[in-house]
């Protein structure tokens, strides 16, 4: 039995939009998701670590990040649905089987997320009240570990999606009368490397947050704190980048098969590979420039550069995913049944939604600014 026999037939309904657009929305959604998700994936552990430090500045920084965490999680969770939505449009043939084979671990993400999210809220409630008990600290650490575990479950699911070749064995091992027991959790060196790579990248995003927060949102804190906070970004970024490079190298050189390696290191893909590898360099440079105090412009530039690095990472992930699946399916081959009118409506509402959100944030920012600016 060849694994290719386990792929579902092509949809009879057809693709609702051209493949390039669907995949662009998927990559865009993933980029936005990870830019926020990183702040809890690595951020909670770092924030709790800072809270435990002796330095007042470190404790302030940990408190600030945790204080923002409820909003960060809420936004990140919702943004995470977008890539999953478009993933299911174009990669349904591999997404559903992979997740069904590991149904229980995959479903457990929802329960773990619930516990972790409430754990964060519980911690933040204590933090805001100025009464952090052991229970609050415990809840915070449990949340931190659960989010890291959730990250691993995602790596496992996404890896299994690409490893169609291992489906037959996993399925046979974990099934009753051909029905999946949903216990085929997928762990291989590639899964661990991907997870570690994302964790390293997440640390770099938290580093950029320290610069952004100190320059844009920490107006109530002292100038000394703001300088210190901007300065912490550079070493933190370096630590994250080193982890990213090590895990990325293990992933690329340790788990990619010859043809994939050859593909990614030649022709136009080579440019993408190189850009992905050096992508964080610009953000690192800007974070380094901000180490003696970040101006709002410099901080915003660092944020944009980091977003660019994450986008490059997401694009590379997509290209590698397509190459790994090339033997089994061509996501762009679905028959067209484009819904231009609804698509245009979506794009208009998307732009309108951004305008509305920016207006609301502007109002909030103005209120905040009037609080921290002494009246004349």
């Amino acid at each position: 039995m060849g694994p290719e026999q386990l792929l579902a037939p092509t949809t009879t309904v057809g693709a609702p939009a051209p493949y390039w657009l669907l995949v662009a929305l998927k990559v865009l959604g993933f980029t936005l998701h990870i830019s926020v998700m990183h702040l809890w994936f690595a951020g909670i552990v770092l924030a709790l670590g800072w809270r435990a430090a002796r330095s007042d500045f470190a404790r302030t920084m940990g408190g600030r990040l945790m204080n923002q965490m409820p909003l960060i999680i809420s936004l990140g969770v919702n943004l995470g649905i977008v890539p999953l939505l478009f993933l299911q449009v174009s990669y349904y043939k591999v997404f559903y089987p992979a997740t069904i084979l590991m149904a229980w671990p995959w479903l457990s993400i929802v329960a773990l997320l619930m516990v972790a999210y409430y754990g964060v809220y519980y911690y933040v409630t204590g933090l805001r009240a100025g009464r952090l008990t052991r229970l609050h600290h415990g809840a915070g650490w449990v949340a931190a570990l659960l989010f890291i575990a959730i990250g691993f479950l995602f790596s496992s699911g996404m890896s299994l999606m690409e490893r169609v070749d291992v489906w037959p064995e996993s399925w046979q091992k974990w099934s009753v009368a051909g029905a999946s027991l949903g216990l085929a959790m997928h762990v291989e060196p590639g899964t661990v490397a991907r997870w570690a790579m994302m964790l390293g990248l997440a640390v770099t995003t938290v580093a950029v947050w320290t610069v952004l927060d100190s320059a844009l949102f920490a107006g109530r804190e002292s100038a000394d704190y703001r300088r210190w906070a901007a300065g912490i970004g550079a070493p933190l970024y370096l630590v994250g980048l080193i982890a990213y490079v090590i895990a990325g190298s293990l992933y690329v050189f340790g788990t990619w098969l010859g043809p994939l390696k050859q593909e990614m290191f030649s022709g136009p893909h080579l440019i993408l590979t190189v850009l992905t590898a050096v992508g964080p360099g610009l953000a690192l440079l800007l974070v380094l420039m901000a180490r003696r105090g970040a101006t709002p412009l410099l901080a915003i530039l660092a944020g944009v550069a980091q977003l660019g690095a994450l986008a490059l990472h997401a694009i590379s992930r997509q290209v590698v995913q397509n190459l790994k699946l090339a033997d089994y399916m061509l996501a762009s081959a679905d028959p067209p049944n484009y819904q231009w009118d609804v698509l245009i409506l979506f794009l208009l509402l998307f732009v309108g939604g951004i305008v509305l959100v920016v207006w609301m944030i502007g109002k909030a920012a103005a209120a905040y600014k009037s609080e921290i600016t002494p009246s004349r």
């Binding site: 579902a8 309904v13 999953l84 559903y96 993400i109 929802v110 819904q339 939604g353």
Partner: protein, 461 residues
């Protein structure tokens, strides 16, 4: 058929959808109605300069965020997860049809989140006009997301003309869209008031303010109950014939419909006599009772809404056992095991030598297999053809209990013509030989007729 089937012992995988969806409904309706409550009441409190009420509303907004933004959002994600696992083909179809509807819904979700957090965290920091405006932005975005998701879920019950022309708008604006939107809007108003009562009864110490909250929230709640009733009647009128028949035929559904109606009336009466006429009645016990009744209405209503769709997940599009309705004829001809992606692979992996001739399953060899092998294949058929709705021996609608004491001939007849025995079951989608295999398996789990029952017809003089 297209995807692996997830075996959840006892419960069956689709029941997990029901569990998560019902829990989500308890909160998602509050997320909509509660937003309207906060917008209207905050505006009123500012207008009347009632600082005590504003303070209460701020506390309620925190409760609202803790319940809706966390529990509501995560259970909403949970629905995404579980429908993909337990009903993958229907999910795939719905996503291909409505992907941009969902994408639009997520635009409104992001607006909701931004508005909710700014509304709460900038309380007292924004000028009243802006604060109220942001409250209304939340309320509007939440209601639009209700409308969007209702169009998609209503499609599953009655896709209208979509089956013929496959147009997004025809599918979205289906015959069930308006009734269900009305009912859900009413449910949101009603449930939000019940949450308010619960919260106020515990957290509002000032009796005068509590009376005010009770009285003011009774009006949207009463309106909500009326909308639920009007929407419910519309839902009934526009049901497809099979769903209406299911409602009339299946006793549990009739009972649950009566429960929904009776409890809605009971809540209406309690609201009118309690918070509206006698706001002083509002106590924690009364608040809990009202909310429990509201939850019971929602749970019963959702169960009925899901159950009447049988034998479809999406009416005339996808059958409850993950088969495209349009494929039934072709699959019957070709054979169920051969047509299913994962059943075909399973047969090749386990019975290559015995059943595969050329590149396909040769049904003619099935009767020659040893009994155990026939039972084994029958179990595979059961898992993929029946386990969506039926557990085997113990659990949800267990087949074993349903066929207690049946003869082999009777079991065979039911296997061949399930839709004739119960119109709300999908038709048999296999060949004659496969029907025989499934019969063999079912006979191994059929318990005896209960002993000790006498009807005076057992023979003798």
């Amino acid at each position: 058929m297209h995807y692996p089937w997830w075996y959840v012992p006892g419960l069956t995988a689709p029941m997990l959808i029901a569990v998560i969806a019902v829990i989500h409904m308890f909160v998602s309706h509050y997320a909509v109605g509660g937003g309207l409550f906060l917008a209207v009441e905050t505006s009123h409190a500012y207008r009347t300069g009632n600082q005590a009420y504003l303070d209460y509303l701020r506390r309620h907004a925190w409760f609202f965020i803790l319940i809706t933004v966390v529990f509501g959002a995560i259970t909403g994600v949970g629905i995404w997860w579980i429908i993909g696992l337990a009903s993958p083909l229907a999910t795939q179809m719905l996503i291909h049809i409505f992907v941009f509807g969902w994408a639009i819904e997520y635009v409104f979700f992001v607006i909701e989140i931004a508005a909710a957090f700014i509304f709460y965290y900038f309380w007292g920091r924004l000028d009243p006009k802006t604060h109220v405006a942001i409250g209304w932005i939340y309320a509007g975005a939440a209601w639009i997301s209700l409308v969007l998701i209702t169009g998609i879920t209503a499609f599953m019950l009655h896709p209208g003309g979509w089956v013929e022309n496959q147009n997004f708008w025809v599918g979205f604006l289906n015959p069930q869209f308006l009734p269900q939107t009305l009912a859900r809007t009413g449910g949101a108003l009603l449930l939000a008031s019940l949450y308010v009562y619960l919260h106020a009864s515990f957290k509002c110490r000032d009796p005068e303010l509590r009376d005010k909250i009770g009285r003011r929230s009774a009006r949207p709640a009463l309106l909500g109950a009326v909308l639920v009733t009007v929407g419910g009647l519309g839902w009934l009128v526009f049901l497809p014939p099979s769903a209406r028949a299911a409602l009339e035929t299946a006793a549990p559904l009739s009972i649950l419909m009566a429960v929904v109606f009776a409890l809605t009336v009971a809540v209406f009466v309690m609201l009118y006599l309690g918070p509206y006429r006698n706001p002083g009645w509002l106590s924690p016990g009364f608040g809990i009772l009202l909310l429990a009744c509201g939850f019971a209405v929602i749970a019963a209503g959702e169960f009925v809404r899901e159950a009447v769709r049988k034998p479809y997940v999406s009416y005339n599009v996808v059958l409850s056992n993950q088969m495209l309705a349009a494929d039934v004829g072709r699959v019957r001809e070709r054979g169920y095991l051969e047509s299913g992606v994962w059943t075909r692979a399973w047969v090749r992996a386990n019975y290559q030598r015995e059943l595969i001739r050329g590149d396909t399953v040769d049904e003619g060899f099935m009767p020659t297999l040893p009994h155990d092998a026939q039972v084994d294949l029958g179990r595979v058929l059961f898992m993929h053809h029946c386990n969506d709705c039926h557990a085997a021996e113990v659990g949800m609608s267990a087949v074993s209990h349903l066929q207690r004491g049946w003869t082999e001939d009777y079991v065979r007849e039911v296997v061949r013509n399930p839709e004739k025995v119960h119109f709300f079951m999908p038709p048999w989608q296999g060949t004659e030989e496969e029907a025989e295999l499934l019969t063999r398996y079912l006979m191994t789990i059929t318990p005896d007729y209960p002993a000790g029952m006498h009807f005076g017809t057992e023979g003798g003089s």
